[in-house]
């Protein structure tokens, strides 16, 4: 039938000069509003921006000074801190979720429903609300009496408890046909072999999902690292942006350069996955 029914508005199919101009204006507007500020950030980080009024999408005074000054102010260290936290945090989160998902999806045991509900209930607990008491726990871990405040480890270990990843893994592992597992068991495969060589390789798409979402979540974290870090040597890059901005000797261009470094990893992950 008529092609106009393919989309709700039928914009794609509208022809004629007027419609074309209207569409161009709309899409150019959209691009300007949503990508424009990021373009200004990109341009600003490679140009002299000595005060906020010089922010522009037109390159005028190309330079790499912003990055040089940013690195003089320890941005490399903050970047490495960020990578350390996201690397080990994601590793821990994925490992914990995969193991828990295996038990919840492939096993039947008493109290299973209770465990599942308890884990899922934490999705309702925004981490911002738990942040303050969490720092008290981190300052003196129950039973082992370790103080993780001021350390990167203190930012990493809480990341292991992430219900979303467990939910995704559980739902995905449920769909692996039981016959595969039975066959492996009859062939004498042990529990770890079934988990590692049968179930896990079949869950690559789910691993990709929890990997990408986990990365974005950890990279975007703010309040918890802020509370745990205590002093700037343990800051991650997003935290350091504020420190740079408050520093009177640092121009907005330097803040923009550091911002560019802080947004690149998550944008790259988005573009490639």
């Amino acid at each position: 039938m008529s092609a106009a029914t393919e989309t709700a508005l039928g914009l794609t199919e509208s022809k004629g000069v007027g419609a074309r101009i209207a569409k161009f204006v709309i899409y150019a507007g959209l691009f300007t509003v949503f990508a424009g500020p990021l373009l200004a950030l990109l341009v600003g980080s490679f140009n002299h921006v000595s005060d906020p009024t010089q922010l522009s999408v037109v390159p005028k005074t190309p330079t790499l000074d912003n990055f040089r000054i940013a690195f003089d102010h320890g941005v490399l260290r903050y970047l490495l801190n960020s990578f350390f936290v996201v690397g080990f945090g994601l590793l821990l989160q994925v490992a914990v979720s995969v193991l828990a998902g295996y038990a919840l999806a492939r096993k039947k045991f008493p109290l299973m429903t209770l465990v599942m509900v308890a884990i899922l209930a934490t999705m309702m607990l925004p981490e911002e609300i738990l942040a303050l008491p969490l720092t008290l726990v981190l300052a003196d871990l129950p039973l082992v009496h370790l103080n993780l405040m001021g350390t990167l480890a203190g930012m990493i270990v809480p990341l292991g408890a992430w219900a979303f990843s467990i939910l995704v893994m559980t739902e995905f592992m449920k769909d692996v046909p039981p016959e595969l597992e039975e066959a492996a068991r009859i062939d004498g495969a042990g529990e770890l072999r079934i988990f590692g060589q049968i179930i896990l390789p079949l869950c690559k798409p789910a691993l990709g999902v929890i990997g990408v979402f986990g990365f974005t979540m950890i990279w975007d974290q703010y309040l918890l690292p802020l509370l745990v870090a205590q002093n700037s040597s343990a800051y991650t890059l997003p935290l350091a942006l504020r420190t740079l901005r408050i520093d009177q000797a640092v121009t907005p261009g330097v803040v923009l350069a550091a911002s560019l470094l802080a947004l690149l990893p998550s944008v790259l992950v988005f573009l490639f996955f």
Binding site: M1, S2, E6, T7, A8, L9, G10, T12, Y27, L30, F31, F34, P37, A40, G44, P52, T53, L55, A95, V96, L99, A103, L104, K108, F109, M112, L125, P126, I129, L130, L132, P133, L134, V137, L141, P142, V157, P158, G160, A161, I166, E182, R185, D187, E191, T216, W219, D220, Y222, L223, L227, P238, R245, P252, V255, L256, A262, L263, S266, V267
Partner: protein, 314 residues
């Protein structure tokens, strides 16, 4: 090799009198502790970093917390104090205004965006990706960038732009009258593309035959959207509403970085207030009471929306 192969064969022979159900279970689940072993890391981490902190938040909210001196039971005093304080009430009001503004702003704009960029052409895919970029940018970067764009003098970036249509200059985040709205605009800029993507997924699920039927019946584009598209997206609206509202209640980062509650407390939200109570004033008891109230509000909202949806669909 041979022993392993023989095992499944010989076991049923020996266990012939035993009910087959038990055999089935032992084969499928193995030892009883195996699932617990797999769950152990998750359970330990959830207890340490979710359940103990939650219990501690509730515990501290009914105590006066005094480091090194021991806590004393004060019952509801913390709640009374925080509920009667002018600061908390205005923070709660600001939080609700900001959450409502961002939620509806993002949903309306996200819906319009989704309608505009729905389609299969390569150009539209490019526009969609570009429009989605703000969502993947860390919130801290968004806040620092908008801080520069909101520069309050006439030659700040946004002031220059609104100057082109004869508006401004505005103080934006530096003016108590516009500060909260400015934060909401920043939030909508980052929230709308996210909603757009969810709406696009919803739009893809709408039956094309309904559009066709509406067109054949002579319905205008406007009527088609009103009577076919919107009803088809109802579940999407419900999900987005809960997600956005819960996100709105716990807003911290953008407010902390853009205004830190100022100027004059005009943008103080519950989370920035709790942060200040807990960290800067070490009033952990009162801060925890605020956190528990915020959690209760989130819970009530989610449950209400779920109940409404049940009744709708029943």
């Amino acid at each position: 090799m041979s022993v392993r192969e023989a095992a499944p064969v010989t076991v049923p022979a020996h266990a012939a009198p035993a009910p087959t159900g038990q055999l089935q279970r032992s084969r499928r689940s193995g030892q009883w502790w195996v699932p617990w072993l797999f769950l152990a890391p998750a359970l330990v981490l959830f207890v340490y970093f979710k359940f103990i902190p939650m219990a501690q938040a509730i515990g501290m909210s009914v105590q006066e917390v005094r480091p090194y001196l021991g806590n004393t039971w004060v019952g509801g005093a913390n709640y009374t104090e925080i509920l009667s304080s002018e600061g908390f009430r205005s923070a709660a009001w600001n939080t609700v205004v900001l959450a409502v503004g961002q939620t509806f702003g993002s949903m309306v704009l996200g819906f319009c965006l989704a309608l505009l960029v729905e389609g299969q052409t390569r150009k539209l895919t490019f526009i969609r990706s570009a429009a989605f970029l703000p969502v993947v940018v860390p919130l801290a970067v968004v806040a620092e960038l908008w801080r520069i764009m909101y520069h309050p003098t006439g030659d700040g970036l946004i002031n220059q732009l609104i100057g082109l249509v004869g508006l401004g200059p505005s103080g934006f985040i530096n003016d108590p009258h516009t500060s909260l709205a400015s934060i909401a605009v920043t939030g909508i800029w980052r929230g709308a593309p996210y909603d757009m993507m969810i709406f696009l997924a919803g739009l893809a699920g709408i039956d094309r035959g309904l559009y066709e039927a509406a067109t054949v019946d002579g319905a205008s584009t406007w009527k088609r959207i009103l009577h076919v598209t919107l009803p088809g997206l109802r579940p999407v609206f419900a999900i987005l509403f809960v997600l956005a509202a819960v996100r709105g209640f716990r807003t911290f980062t953008e407010v902390f970085l853009l205004t830190n509650g100022g100027p004059n407390g005009s943008t103080e939200v519950v989370m920035t207030l709790i942060y200040k109570l807990g960290l800067e004033q070490s009033r952990l008891g009162v801060g925890s009471a605020g956190a528990v109230l915020l959690f209760a509000a989130t819970l009530v909202l989610t449950v209400c929306v779920q109940l409404l949806r049940r009744r709708r669909s029943a």
